[in-house]
Amino acid sequence: MSKSEKKVTSKDEDKKKSDEKAIGDAIIAAANARREELAKEALATRSNKTLPKEIKEKPKEEKPKESKPKEEKPKAAPPSKTDTEEVSLPEFEKSFVDKISSQFTGDVEVGYIKENRTRVNVKKEKILEVAQFIKDNLPFDHAESVTGVDFPEDKEIGVVYHLGSYTDPTYSKQVLALATRVPREENPNPGNDSTKLPSLRDMFYSVEFHEREIFEMLGVYFDSHPDNRRLLLPEDWADLPPLRKDFRNKGR
């Protein structure tokens, strides 16, 4: 919150930040160069002793790739969509996922159906309705965990609700992942940009703290959440939301 205010009030801050960013990039570039050098050296010393030539080449190529920013290698497919075409889908899991997908054809896409684990991808406009449908018609009664994932190459942030059931013993093994995506902005301004989702707190009360955590860690603002404050981060945090991919760990 305090960050947003700084953004609005003073342009000097932006300038300063861009300067800092430039300096940071320079440092990273220098570090990369140094790392390459070191790798070369290490390989040189190693190759004298034992290693054959093929292995010697391999890390030499990989190292600089990893250390560079992620934008260089866009990857279209999110990881979840790959496993749908399994040969034999488990019956029970398929039955209740079909219930959801038949109710919302077009808005709901089945992510995967595995034993005890299922996933549906929902458009962000329909998330409230789908959650209400699941709450009313299926015995999922609580959210176990809410994961926020940053996909910078898709310019999206994914939010995955893992729903479980305590009341129905037949469902006690099942975990339904209810996933959605929100647009991601390059210069995040948590709370005041387009990275917004409706809160599921009215349906699944247990997401309250999880959603607060995702707001501070990834900058996803949850409308209609009564208590959108920081939870874990310090009060004077004025940097990027730390779980975004462009927030870098020091020394990494």
């Binding site: 994961t147 994932v149 893992h162 247990s206 009060e235």
Partner: protein, 383 residues
């Protein structure tokens, strides 16, 4: 009103200038407070009654999830157990299971049994520590010293297995790090039997104590419906009458071959919540004895991994029953040696949501009893 003082600025929690009511006093319980642990609860009291409680975790936030994104699947092991070093095997368990799914390796039979034994021993170690703090929170200093002393028995056992007293880093994808020592079965059986005898004595001094019963019964009552609605887990859930234990409901490794019983109490008050972990310890002793009996006497304890293993492009969500409740691990992999995203869904964080709900309307003197009976570990919630 506060607007006149600071016009538009919205302050972070705890620093807010508030409309001061003469009757209401705001107390900062923690993080430097003998009754808080590494967290802060902002408590508002009216006389002796709590009218509002706002937990403010994050004092020991270490960004384990962010750290995990830049380390590979093996180097993640030692730092992922740091949130709960007293329960390090159980907090590592879902991660290891998830990585095994992603990498696609099988675990040898003997390793599964060793894992179950280590996990149950570690559960007892954690619960003993938790119980000690619960005792001192209620002003019962003997209940602090006894569990802290008896815990050493099991710590010695774990040291024999793993080489470290608390931070074991014992579970690895594909099995366990090293085999148990030669005459481990006998030593373990003897120490566990003595341990069980000792913890049964706790009933005399603590759980049957009339003052304790008068103090904690009917305080902080969490009804069955609320426990489900708030998504609580573990001992809190089972104290409210919900029979849900992942060791039975979703057996992992060899728990389906063992005879596991779960303990459920109906009342949902602080007393029941504090008694469930103790009953769990007795149950753990049974499980350890069974596992020692059924364990294959020899065999491999680890499937060899490739150096720097890569997970396939997939995501897994695995969960186990830790000392506090369900511990989940959500790993998204993109075919790299590092996880793309790793989320720890820990039980302390899930149980924390019940704290403001339970403290509202409670007396100030009940605060430690209600707070610590949630089986809450502040470091785990912060991650």
């Amino acid at each position: 009103m506060a607007e006149q003082v600071i016009p538009t600025k919205k302050m972070p929690p705890g620093l807010q200038v508030e409309n001061v009511d003469d009757r209401i006093m705001t107390l900062n319980v923690g993080p430097q407070h003998p009754g808080s642990g590494h967290m802060r609860i902002i408590v508002k009291i009216d006389g002796d009654y709590i009218v509002d409680a706002d937990p403010d975790p994050g004092y020991v936030h270490r960004g384990e999830e962010k750290m995990a994104e830049s380390r590979n699947y093996i180097t993640n092991i030692p730092h992922l157990e740091r949130p709960v070093i007293h329960d390090s095997c159980n907090i590592l368990y879902p991660y290891v299971l998830g990585v095994e799914d992603l990498v696609g390796i099988e675990v040898p039979e003997r390793a599964k049994y060793v894992r179950v034994i280590a996990a149950e021993l570690n559960r007892c170690i954690y619960i003993q520590y938790w119980l000690a703090i619960y005792g001192i929170f209620l002003g019962h200093s003997t209940m602090f010293m006894w569990p802290a002393g008896d815990r050493e028995l099991l710590i010695d056992l774990m040291e024999k297995i793993t080489g470290a007293r608390v931070t074991h880093a014992y579970f690895i994808p594909g099995g366990v790090r090293n085999d148990v020592p030669a005459n481990f079965e006998d030593v373990c059986l003897r120490q566990v039997n003595y341990f069980e005898k000792r913890i049964k004595e706790y009933a005399d001094i603590f759980y049957d104590n009339p003052i304790l019963k008068a103090r904690t019964e009917d305080t902080g009552v969490l009804s069955r419906e609320d426990a489900i609605r708030l998504g609580t887990t573990g001992s809190v859930l089972r104290a409210s009458g919900v029979d849900y234990d992942l060791r039975i409901k979703e057996p992992y490794d060899v728990y389906d071959e063992l005879d596991v019983h779960t303990n459920v109490l109906k009342s949902g008050d602080s007393y029941a919540r504090s008694k469930i972990p103790w009953l769990d310890m007795l149950e753990s002793c049974n499980i350890i004895r069974q596992a020692l009996e059924k364990m294959p006497k020899s065999g491999s304890i680890r499937t060899k991994l490739k150096p720097n293993p890569k997970g396939r492009e997939d995501e897994v969500y695995r969960r186990v029953e830790s000392g506090r409740g369900s511990a989940g691990c959500h790993i998204i992999s993109r075919g790299k040696p590092e996880p793309y995203r790793l989320k720890l869904s820990v039980s302390s964080f899930r149980n924390l949501i019940a704290l403001p709900y339970l403290l509202k309307g409670e007396k100030l003197g009940n605060m430690p009893a209600v707070y610590w009976s949630l089986n809450y570990w502040p470091v785990e919630a912060d991650r």
